[in-house]
Subunit: 368 residues, 2 copies
Amino acid sequence: LLAGGAWRFDEASSNQDRFGMVMRQHQPDNLEFPFAATNAYITPNERFFVRSHFEVPRITTETWRLKIEGAVQKSLVLSKADLDALPQRDVTATLECAGNGRVFLVPRAKGLLWEGGAVGNAVWTGVPLADVLKLAGLAPEAVDIVLEGADKGAVNDDPKTPGVIQFARSIPRARALKPDVLLATKMNGQPLPLAHGFPVRAVVPGWYGVASIKWLQRIVVLDRLFDGYHQTMDYAIFERKHGLPILTPLTQMQVKAQIARPGRFETVPVGHDYVMHGAAWTGEGTIGKVEVSTDGGRQWSSAELLGEAIPAAWRLWQYRWHTPATSGTVKLMARATDNRGNRQPMERDNDRRTYMINHVMPVEVEVH
Amino acid sequence: LLAGGAWRFDEASSNQDRFGMVMRQHQPDNLEFPFAATNAYITPNERFFVRSHFEVPRITTETWRLKIEGAVQKSLVLSKADLDALPQRDVTATLECAGNGRVFLVPRAKGLLWEGGAVGNAVWTGVPLADVLKLAGLAPEAVDIVLEGADKGAVNDDPKTPGVIQFARSIPRARALKPDVLLATKMNGQPLPLAHGFPVRAVVPGWYGVASIKWLQRIVVLDRLFDGYHQTMDYAIFERKHGLPILTPLTQMQVKAQIARPGRFETVPVGHDYVMHGAAWTGEGTIGKVEVSTDGGRQWSSAELLGEAIPAAWRLWQYRWHTPATSGTVKLMARATDNRGNRQPMERDNDRRTYMINHVMPVEVEVH
């Protein structure tokens, strides 16, 4: 074997702590972080998953403008300096891609096959959207607030876009007026990275990442619900009303616990204590409980919740597992329940199409 | 930030050296290793990429049989004990999936979107296929040797299979008779893992992994070339003959150098020495040269080749890069040339459909 030789490198180039990002698509780049490598409450910017639908727009702070128009008393055009002059606020929020976990759907889904790393937790700094809407003055008939990004493109597979369109999503008036929805300019104390929406993005805490429009350029206030492409054909699920399946834009993140370690296919030692750990999150609420099963779902034990319960931010959890005394394959599971009583389901609901994937997904490990 | 808390775990459960595998498909599981984490000449079994087309067949050593039939003097049925009684041979060989690097094809391809980790280098132990063919005696009209696995299934998207079929590929007589083609029972000194073809797989050194049929159950000798599903509709490219595009099964791996570190999006220090390193491989030949560019392809410098030149096995290389004195984005490239004069192209050839991806693919890093 020695015939193959070995690299001779120093510390800088052999940093074994560098897990890197996993590429799920190139141009536009879509990247996730290997969730097993999560090592802290805050996800560093360079480890935060990147979801880009179209080419990343390159915007300068100087030329950036935000238009606010539609059902408002007074249309506005704000510069970055205008925004910076308004009162700022910090919000800790977890953003999860609505397709996170999609690789586990069987048969194989069409979209990006995220494993478990299309989620991250950061401190966002910016101006509450409500303050900007107040400046413009919402008209009485205002119902839906459309956020439009500077990113644009065409989807050429069915269902197709009507040519090139801007990426846009809406949030209903009541949600938009809550003070935690930000027009964010900072991520973990740094200016927003290019891939994360520089210079300004929305952050809608508790909602799937798609609502938090990056490279924000326009706010259009509508007098009816916005049935845009990215919340009907894309990022929408079927909800049943009186038995009728009705296409509905997805909104809040679903309650979910993910196991960071042990990772899938990891070998853990026989008859040892192993600290299983991970994170759990829900929509606008907080996590009430995380339970762990080390026997494939027959028995469940409570995990320890760490830190404080912060709405719309994930919560770290851990569980001291005494591994079996004999070798074999073990199915580990974690399931979360939130403070509103929502608990992760054991089975997948196909009405959710390929989104909102929060059923309990076992992690098989080898005890040896 | 401290409100979020922190895990308290011991060494066993915080092993930062554990990179884990990246899941590209679930059921059947298709996994790659994050190539940036490659740290030695030999790829450990648990870090070797897994490519499964259908459900993994579970075979016991006791019931396993290998049939040899078709254009032979005498049909044979061998047991595992029969195979173990024949002279064994070790071969070091790199196996690369024909779709390795597919995530970099634009627009997005349909198949599994491998990044760069669907490649590994192992020592395989087994009986030369030639010895088994000799026992059966090839008929004079024997042209093509079909290897059939115990894995079977149906492809339901176009192009469809004719119902459920076994996975099967062929190698032409001349190649099959060379002594390096093995019916392997060991991988790096261990019994073949289930996912890698237990109890017996073929290993065809220098050829894309698809030729190295796992869970081998039958060898069929044909008097003409085998136009099976997995070498016409799948795993075939267009070759031009007198300008005519002709569908041709892919065979040898194409010459290719991959950069392990720095990884994509890695930040490297300003004005420091950094040991860029990676591996390079080709088909049945050896690597003659690896060149590196740190300026996006304008200038090229020779990297140092480590170890010995072993046909069909990868070769480690390294290059001491003095990083720029100022911050910025740098495009790193590596390109290999083999001992037969084949050099990696700079551009993608679309006749290769979504296979044989060996054009130079830059790694962008941040110098800071």
